[in-house]
Structures are given as structure tokens and as C-alpha cells.
Amino acid sequence: MDTSEEVHYNERDLAAKSFKAFLLKSSSKTNLNLYDHLAQLLTKVMDESPEDVVETFEDMSQEVKRAGLQNTQSTLRDTTPISTATVLAEQQRALFSRKAGEDPAHEEYLVKTPLPNVPELAFYLEQAGVGLGEEEMHRVFLALKELVDTQPLQRCRFWGKILGSESNYFVAEGEFQEGGGEEDETAEEEARKSEHRVDDLEAVAEHTVNLLQKSADKSMPVVPMEDKGTGANKYTYFVCREPGMPWVRLPSVTPAQIIAARQICKFFTGRLDAPIASSPPFPGNEANYLRAQIARISASTQVSPLGFYQFAEEEGEEDEETPRYSLEENPDFEGIPVSEMAESLSTWVHHVPHILEQGRCVWVDLAEKPEELVEEEEGDEDREDEPDKPEAEVGPPLLTPVSEDAEINKTPSWTAKMSSTLVSQFAIAVLRSNLWPGAYSFAFKKKFENIYVGWGLKFTGEGYNPPAPPPTQQAYPSGPEITEDLEVGLKEKQGVKSTLEEQREEEESEEAEGEEEEEKEEEGEEEEEEGAGEAEEEEREENEEDED
């Protein structure tokens, strides 16, 4: 009948629907439900049609479940690690952006800018076989531009690059305008004050030392630093790690640092505040050592063609002994032919003053001291060894040709050659230093330039020998008052002993005692006695007994 069939159909429909609802019920542990799972599984079987599917059915079921789970687990976002390259690129990007105040239409063609023409320098240096790579030199150029914009420099030059074990230094040399560079004056004043303080302390120290009689400690007076703008401190140096990073100004160099730098041989690490552990100890950290090496390299290897610079004419009579330091460009310089420059070393001259043994360019006489110290000097017997007035050190005067430099191992300390033998009309003359490997100079008609790219170490020839440490200082001066005189002491003890013996013999003569006991007592006394000459005393005791 229809109704029963309809009822039956309804019941079956209802059962099917409830079963489907049951299948769609999500599991309490995961969000899966059996309906979806079976649908996915059967779709997979349909797609893949594997062999013996009934055997692998359970594995397939697990795979489907696992595949479903992976999507929901990645709630973590992948962050791309920031590499150092991108950090550096961000900093260097600032090099390429034009500053806000500049107007390209307002080009200052007439004003002479202190910025050097680095691309031209790179072009010539490449012919010489020296260089840092085109793009790198261009970055250096832009970094120098930034330096010139921020600091009031009158002249600026790319000095070179010093390699270090952890990172390198790009060095720029700058000469401040009149009255410029005031930020660092406070630092320099402090340095000078500390020197004065040290001088005062040393005066006090010397006084107390003289009160305590003689001491072998000779406290050397501190050689004063050269003023900013003169001598070894004529130029200020700025360093940076990579072009684009901020320029750091190096402190001025003191003569003590130069003297110490001459005795040590160390690699640079690349961190300006790294300590220098060396023997003899270097007064300062890596920034000071770097500055001292730069000063030495500049003094030894900065050269120019003969005639490019001339001595400036000064008014008034000059004492012939005082060396002249003021140079100016020679407007009549014609340029020396390149072949001549490549062959003879006398066409190149130094234009940076030589650093004397003292560590300065201008000799300072340390014997001129305030009166109190002079009196102490006269009273101090240790100073008799030194001459009263040390001789003034004289170095080779400015503008001496390079051919007169000292030789190393019987070879000249410079090598000159032409950059190309195939095309000599346009070749340049290249000068290379053998004493400071890495110092190069080139000259072409009226242009010349110096550069240093290297490790900052001098060529030591036979080898570097660290100086021996100074002899150990004596704790006290040895003299007759302090040392114990063995002879006198012995006699005194023997004197005491003989009186004691006489007393004992008197006592013993009263008592009847054998010689053995006497010996025992005396030996016991001998053991109790301390001091030098014990063995001698025993021998003498035995001799006396034998005599007895």
C-alpha cells in the first residue's frame, strides 16, 4: 500500500539522513569527520588507482589524515633573516642620495671644493696595477664627499686602506681650515693637561726618590706632543670600516707612541678600541697605534716629483740651521718626462717632514727644564752618565730626493718603472716602496698622487726581533750599610760563644762530666744557632775541641 511504502521510505530516508548526520559529526579530538575523510580517501583511490588497494587501504587512510593535518600547523610566519649585506646596503644607499640643501641647477663650479678627484686617481692607479676595484673606489669617492660636507676641511685626500685581521680601515687625510676642527680641542687639551699632570707627578716622584737616596729608576721626561697643524700632526685622519659607514676621527699622535710603534710589529684587528698587547707596552689602544703607523708611513713614503713643491718665501732673515717646513706649489712646474721619472730615483722628493728619533718632526730640547728639576738633576748622581745637553737630532731636510733614502739589504728602498712598455707615450711612471710594502706613487705630466694599501707593517729585512725586556729593577740599593758582613758577624758570634764556653767550662769543671756530653751540649747549641757560617763554626768548634 502506498502509505506503508511511504512510511517505510520515510523511515529509511530518516535513517539515512541521521546516519549521514552521524558521519558528518566532527570528532572531539580533531576537527575531522568521517564523511569528509571517506570522501577524500575514495577520491584518492580513484585518482591513483593503486594495485592491491585493499591491502594498503589503512596506510592510505593514515596518509590522508596526515596530509590534512599539515596545513593547520604553520601558524609561525617565516621571517627572512637580515643579512649583513642588506644592512650594509642600507647604509650605503645613503651615499647615493642627494642631500636636501643641494640644488643641481646651482652647481658650484667656481668654488674650489676640497673633494679629490677619486675616479681619476683610480684610473691612473689601475694602470699601475694598484686599486680597489672600480665600484669600491666610487663608493670611497662618495664617502669622501660626505666627509667634506660634514667637516670644515680645507683639503682632503684619500690616503689609502689599511687591512686588518677582522675588518679593514679606509683612511682619509684632511687638513682643517683656519680655526676649524674645534670639537677635538677639548680632547687635546685634556691630553696636554694629563701630560702636565704626569710631569708634576714625576717632579714629586723624583723628589721623594731623592729623599730615599738613590734609586735606579730613571723616569724619562715626557716629550711633548706636536701641536695640531704642525709636524706629525699637520693633517687629521679619519677612518671608516666600509665606505658608507660614519667616519671616525683619529686622535693626534704623541712622540711616545711613535717611538713605541717603531719597536713593535702587530697586525690591526679592525676595532679602534682594541688594546695592543705588546712588549714594550704601547701607550694607547689600536686607534693610537693606527695613527702612529699612518704618521710613519706618511713621513716615509709621501713623495712628489722634483719641482712640484718649493719652499715658501718668508719675510725676514732666517737662521740657516732651522729647517724650513713651509711648502707651496710651484706654479712654474712643467712636469718631468715619464721615462726620466721611471729611471732615476732622484726625480722624486719627499714632501712630508721626516720623523726624528725623538718621535717629533721638530726637535725639542728636553734639557731646558724648570729650575727645581734642574737642581735635582745636578744633585742626582745617576745623571752623570748622560751628557748635560743632548745633541739636537737632525733629520734629512724636506725635498730631499728619494735616491738618498737608506738602502735595505743593499737594494734601494724604492722601485720605479713605467706602467706600460708597449705604449710609452701615454704610460705613467710608478714608484713602489720596498720598505713599506703597499705604498705606491704615480706621476704623469703635472699630476701625481700617493696611496697606501697594505697591512701597515714595515719590511723588516732580516726579521723582526722584539726588544728584550729591561733588566729587573733592584728592590733596594745594595751598599755596605745593608748587607750582612760575614766576617764581622762570625767574629761577633764567636766572641759570644767563647764567653759562654768559658762559663760552661767553669761549671763543668765543678761537675764530673765526660767529653761526650760536652760535645752533645755544644752540638745542641750549634743546632740552635742560626745564621751564616754554621758549618764553619762547627769546623772551628771541632778544631777547638781537638786543640783542647
Binding site: V130, S167, T411, V423, G463
Partner: protein, 275 residues
């Protein structure tokens, strides 16, 4: 470094200050190809430049089948005409370390160096004079060999050793990753291994015999004789402090690598004082 990619590689290595001029590069490109054909090399590498007082030497390596053995070394003054260097003996290698002068630039120059050593034989002190005589050509060959043996560098995985013992370039080398390139242990010496045989089995358990058949750089003494830097942010540059002038570069995640020596050819014996 490979003569095919010379221009590009030189740019990466020039952080040390020395490069080749344009004329020299152009001459090298032509002459190295001719060299390759004449000597039937499979690869020609430009090894570097040794500075001499009068003229500089340009050195090239020619490789036949095996990358490491039977390498021929050639030198030139003008990058055009190349001359073969003679093979060296062990005695010559030891003697060359006594010479402490610059290279003169003349291959026929004879060095004479006498060293006096005092030997104590019993109660007597005998002074022995050792005279070393060597031509500059031999000194050059010995120096090149020494440098290769002590400080040549390749990244780990760039060369593989086949079971027959032949060393060849690994064509599947994709470069070291950024983090691997920062570790000194990812670089190997490209010469006969000396420390490898002394390693215990425990240490060699992690090594792959086809890749790790060379000495690792991190086992060099003294520690600190290598300067590992990342120039321009991403290029890994290794500089040796033992032989000043050897520079190795590698661009991470690419198979580009190479090393070059540009210097005066003298070993830095005083390295421990300088560290």
C-alpha cells in the same frame, strides 16, 4: 683563479690593493688561451704575481687531468711569453726559507746565503757553515710550490675525489651557504693532506670521504693566521697572514671561488709576534 672569469674575479679580490692593469688583463686573455692549446691543458689558472725589484713575475698554472697532481707552473714577465718552471726537490724547498731578500726580477740571478750554526758535539762547539746556492728561477718555483702547499684554499665541496683517486671539479657544487661561509672549517687546503691521516676514527666519522680528502683550514697553526672577512657585505674573503698577499674569495650560494697571490713572495716568519 680561472682564466675565463679573470676580469670578474680580479674585481672581487682587489680588496688587497693589487690588481692587474687593463693591458695586462688583455694580454692574459689571449696568451692563456694559446698556452692552453700548446700544452694541451684542460684548464689554465692565473696563479698570481710575485713582485721583484726590477720586474714582476706573472705565474700561471696548467692543469691536465687530475686537478691536484701534475700541475705545471709557468712564469712570464709581460703576460705574453711564458716559460716553464722546473720541478723542485724537497731540499730546495727547505733551503728557500733561508733566503730573506726580495726577488730581484732576473731569473738567472744566483743567490748565495751562508748560515752559520753552532753544533755542540760533546765538549766542543763546532761551527758549521751552510751555504745555500740557488738561482732565482729555482727560488721562484720553490716559493710557488710552498705557497700552494701551505695556503691554497678551496671551499668544501668544490672538488671531489673519485674512487679511483682522481680529483676533479664538482659540477654539482652550489656554493656554501651564508652561515657556512662564515666558518673557517668550511674551507680546505688544496694540497696533499698532512693532518688527515692522523685523525682518529671518531673525528672522521662525520666526514664525507669524497669531499673531505683535504686538510681543513681551522686546523692551521697558529690559530688566527687567517683573516676571514665579508667584504661589501656578501663576498667571503680569506686573507692569509702567513703569506701576506694571498687572497681567496667566494661568493656564497654561487659556485664562484678562486685564490690569487700578489705579493713579494716572502713568508711571514714572525706571525706569532704580530697576532
Amino acid at each position: 683563479m680561472d682564466s675565463d672569469s679573470l676580469r670578474y674575479s680580479l674585481d672581487l679580490v682587489s680588496g688587497c690593493g693589487l690588481t692587474l692593469s687593463c693591458e695586462q688583463r688583455a694580454a692574459l686573455q689571449t696568451s692563456l688561451l694559446i698556452l692552453k692549446r700548446n700544452y694541451k691543458f684542460s684548464r689554465v689558472l692565473f696563479w698570481g704575481k710575485i713582485l721583484g725589484l726590477r720586474s714582476d713575475y706573472f705565474i700561471a698554472h696548467g692543469i691536465t687531468e687530475d686537478e691536484m697532481r701534475n700541475r705545471k707552473t709557468l712564469y712570464s714577465f709581460n703576460c705574453v711569453d711564458w716559460h716553464l718552471l722546473p720541478p723542485v726537490t724537497e731540499a730546495q724547498l727547505a733551503e728557500v726559507s733561508l733566503l730573506k731578500e726580495h726577488f730581484k726580477g732576473d731569473p738567472s740571478y744566483e743567490y748565495e746565503h751562508t748560515e752559520t750554526r753552532g753544533l755542540d758535539e760533546g765538549d766542543e762547539a763546532v761551527v758549521e757553515e751552510i751555504t745555500v746556492k740557488m738561482t732565482e728561477e729555482t727560488r721562484l718555483a720553490a716559493t710557488v710550490f710552498n705557497i700552494d702547499r701551505e695556503v691554497s684554499v678551496v671551499p668544501r665541496g668544490a672538488f671531489i675525489k673519485t674512487p679511483s683517486g682522481r680529483v676533479q671539479v664538482n659540477r654539482c657544487f652550489e656554493g656554501l651557504s651564508e652561515s657556512e661561509a662564515r666558518k673557517l672549517s668550511s674551507y680546505l687546503h688544496f694540497s696533499e693532506p698532512q693532518h688527515l691521516k692522523k685523525k682518529t676514527i671518531l673525528e672522521t666519522a662525520d666526514l664525507n670521504p669524497s669531499i673531505d680528502f683535504l686538510d681543513n683550514l681551522s686546523e692551521d697553526t697558529p690559530k688566527g693566521s687567517w683573516s676571514l672577512q665579508f667584504e661589501r657585505g656578501s663576498i667571503s674573503v680569506l686573507r692569509s697572514l702567513l703569506w701576506l698577499g694571498l687572497t681567496f674569495f667566494h661568493v656564497p650560494m654561487t659556485p664562484q671561488h678562486g685564490y690569487i697571490y700578489m705579493g713579494d713572495g716572502m713568508k711571514n716568519h714572525y706571525l706569532p709576534f704580530m697576532l
